[in-house]
Symmetry: C2
Subunit: 100 residues, 2 copies
DNA sequence: TTATACCGGGATAATATGACCGGTATAGTT
DNA sequence: AACTATACCGGTCATATTATCCCGGTATAA
């Protein structure tokens, strides 16, 4: 056992991360963000589409910086298990959904 | 060229990241933190010693979580090259030390 | 002697990054 | 209609790097 394969949970978390970044990108193009963050457009695309589940810390930090996202908020949202919305409870997701 | 080798700046940034995490660890042992963060003690050691320059985002997030560090603060601190005391030049031997 | 804690080096599977390809879809242009 | 440009997609490939294991070694302290 040298490098454990990604678990299903990690893959799903990667997909949530990609979806979050894509939402935060809004109307701006991938190319625009990628150039700003100094990452390859291909890399950004792979992350957004969830094909790269555990990107490098500097990569995500650079992208989040361009998108104006807090890394702590990104990590918190990406880790929370999706559950049915609670009509009576407080909306803890409101802030992270700002991008839409 | 498919995957660009790490630059000097990235290697040095990785070393600052490792030093920061080690400082934040305080008196607690590597094993303790690693088990809490669910990463291998070997991985934590390599990151702390700066032998892994660009760890995965989930890896750093988990460690920072255990240490009670903000990811945004970590990223900001690791990126400022300004030394408060005794400014030294760039470490031109960093790459050789990292070569395995 | 025993135990904890850390180190560097080596080895290896899995992954990330980056590039290329053809394809789809849309919108604007001639 | 045909053409052009932008934007994104999945697949595939090559190379660099990570995450994890193992080993022997050093240092400290009980």
């Amino acid at each position: 056992m040298v490098r454990l394969p990604l678990t299903f949970a990690e893959i799903e978390r990667g997909q949530r991360l990609g979806a979050l970044l894509r939402r935060a990108r809004g109307e701006r193009s991938m190319l625009d963000i990628a150039l700003d963050a100094r990452v390859s457009p291909e890399t950004l695309r792979k992350i957004e589409t969830g094909r790269v589940a555990t990107p490098a810390f500097p990569t995500i930090a650079a992208i989040a910086g361009v998108l104006g996202l807090s890394l702590d908020a990104v990590w918190a949202e990406v880790n929370q298990t999706k559950r049915a919305t609670e009509p009576t409870g407080p909306d803890h997701n409101a802030r992270e959904r700002l991008a839409s």
